[in-house]
Subunit: 381 residues, 2 copies
């Protein structure tokens, strides 16, 4: 992809995400519209219905132009007077009402909170609106599809996780926060970063890593200062708060993002989710994906080049199954560089963790491995 | 316990933990002494040995005076020329050498890092010094027992997790950090808080909670400002960094600590670990325990008083087994208030999550439940 194309792609995403700036009253209005359309059905004496895109792999398409996943054109209607639909219909409306209330009082709830708020017994019955969090979670995803607003914009937050450090000054909830002056801890990334304002961004790139312990290593070594970058970390899968923070820095400040993860199918999938979006949230992929993200390591070549074979961990049956699955994903299928990696890992029959680099010395990762890889631009796209 | 006794207890802990201030060269010296004692054995032509306390429940005692767990007087010797001991002996020495190196270069490693640093093949053999992280973890715990210094003092860090907010100003790594001015995220608690200096502490108590989502709820409601307290959270079990931070604020600034956790055996055990220490780390319990900690909720009485029975989640077999186990722990066995709770939960056959309070309203927890419980001093000790 040329630089020109990249810029164009970023512009398109930027348009969707930021312009026109969406206010919480816009979001509320969309929920009110949903309610009105149902009342209209009722007044016309029709079976009340909600129309929404079909989810699931059968309707997930890989957009080769925008390089992100998205939902296809298959839609379905959900009716109130339909034994198979009635409960889901009710759940969607109940959760819409909860979100409208959250927007009105200007507060945010977690997925679990929403579950408990929705979990009440329907009067004169023994039936609960929801019995399991999976049901309210699905209803929130449905609302994302129906309203085209994200969960965060509906004031429902994901889990809070992760830290960041580097030469960035932000404004958040009226506070001015300098990410370079927060001691050994760094700034704790909230679950919702929509209202953060970037006041100053002085960094050449973002190093995102899957492990908090690696973040602490780089932070103690003042990697962000020496390399003039940001270091950001979650613990395991990347939360939506972090993905949006990465995306906003990519779009608004054109910072390249490099991903540092274990050399195993799960670590690689962390990169895949940040870059292309996730299958389960394909309806949000275009809003959440960051096509410019690059994988820095750990690659199978690194294992050879940095003498890490003695730290091989045998692939489990699950690892092998996951590897096979990923190999066949459309966005990896025609990617020769990645197919080569998949093949190498299969031949090794083994995976390697980031921390294996510590066997070469406690600061080998920050003083040699990372600077060398960046200098040689050894990235996988 | 009278206030006087409490003060005395705190003084004793304070003495151990802070006075005389331990420098990293003291810690290094202890490791050098260990090495010297082995060389002495060798020079005398004796079988090199390490002496250390026996671990495991058989040697864990509950000190009714200090109200903490600790190791008993059973000791064991580990010999180099003993087929059953040789590998563990080598592992302990190897890890001691890694820690000495970390102290020399003034850097910190994670448990996983130490594993990879120790994982090397013994020359002319096919045997690795360690094959599994459990082995190096055990060796670090052994070193804690042998040297009487904590893992953190040996420059080995636990996992980083959790956030804090409130009117406290600290100095850390040369930065001045105001915990009340960090936006919606808060300060990200590092894995090691030994070198933090408290510059200003303006709070009446600490509210510690097991769940990050609850922390975000209280933070959005500015609970810490309205109540003049600190809010601190992990996600799941309390990390050692957080426990030490709680303890330092308790000892150095006499802040009461209230624990807010799920009403289930696991939530209650979170409280137990903070208060009495954990069984697996009994050798560090006296250093880590905070006897003054109080359990605020959620209790079985809260379920009744706040009408939460409709959010019952049936106890699993594991829950019931854990409940039975906890009921028999010495520190709970004679505690009538806790025994009553255990009994109630058994009768309910059910548990309840903190977030069930959200069913009463999104800010019910911060506006009614918590202020009411604190005002009525409804604590469990």
């Amino acid at each position: 992809m040329s630089n020109n194309e990249k810029q164009q792609q970023l512009q398109e995403i930027k348009k969707k995400v930021d312009s026109p700036k969406i206010s919480s009253s816009d979001v509320k209005q969309e929920l009110i519209n949903l309610g009105k359309s149902i009342i209209k059905d009722i007044n016309k004496g029709e079976n009340p219905k909600i129309e929404l895109s079909v989810r699931g792999l059968s309707n997930v398409i890989y957009n080769t132009k925008s390089k992100t996943l998205s939902l296809g054109e298959k839609t379905a209607q959900r009716f109130f007077f339909n034994v198979a639909h009635a409960k889901k219909f009710l759940q969607t409306i109940e959760v819409a009402s909860i979100c409208k209330n959250l927007l009105e009082v200007q507060k945010h709830a977690s997925l679990r909170d929403v579950f408990y708020m929705a979990k009440r017994t329907i009067p004169n019955t023994k039936i609960n609106v929801v019995d399991d969090q999976k049901e309210s979670d699905k209803a929130i995803e449905d609302l994302e599809i129906i309203t085209e607003f994200s969960r965060e914009q509906l004031h429902v937050n994901a889990n809070k996780m992760g830290s960041v450090a580097g030469k960035v000054v932000i404004e958040d909830s009226g506070d001015i926060i300098d990410w370079s002056k927060l001691g050994s801890g760094g700034w704790s990334i909230p679950s919702n970063v929509e209202n953060i304002k970037f006041k100053k961004v002085d960094a050449k790139y973002i190093m995102y890593m899957e492990k908090a312990a690696v973040w602490e290593r780089l932070h103690e070594d003042r990697f962000w200062e020496k390399q003039n970058c940001l270091i950001m970390s979650s613990q395991g899968q990347t939360t939506r708060g972090i993905r949006r923070l990465l995306q906003r820095l990519s779009i608004e400040h054109h910072l390249p993002i490099y991903v540092l993860a274990d050399c195993d199918p799960w670590g690689w999938y962390i990169y895949s989710v940040i870059k292309y979006g996730s299958i389960s949230l394909a309806h949000m992929a275009e809003e959440m994906a960051i096509p410019s993200v690059r994988f820095l390591g750990v690659t199978c070549d690194d294992i050879v080049n940095y003498d890490l074979k003695r730290h091989f961990i045998k692939l489990t049956d699950q690892d092998i199954a996951r590897l096979k699955q990923m190999q066949q994903y459309e966005w990896f299928e025609k990617n020769k560089l990645w197919q080569r990696q998949f093949k190498m890992m299969k031949e090794f029959g083994a995976k390697v963790e980031i921390q294996a680099l510590s066997s070469r010395g406690i600061s080998f990762i920050s003083e040699k491995y990372l600077p060398e890889k960046i200098k040689k631009t050894e990235f996988l796209d």
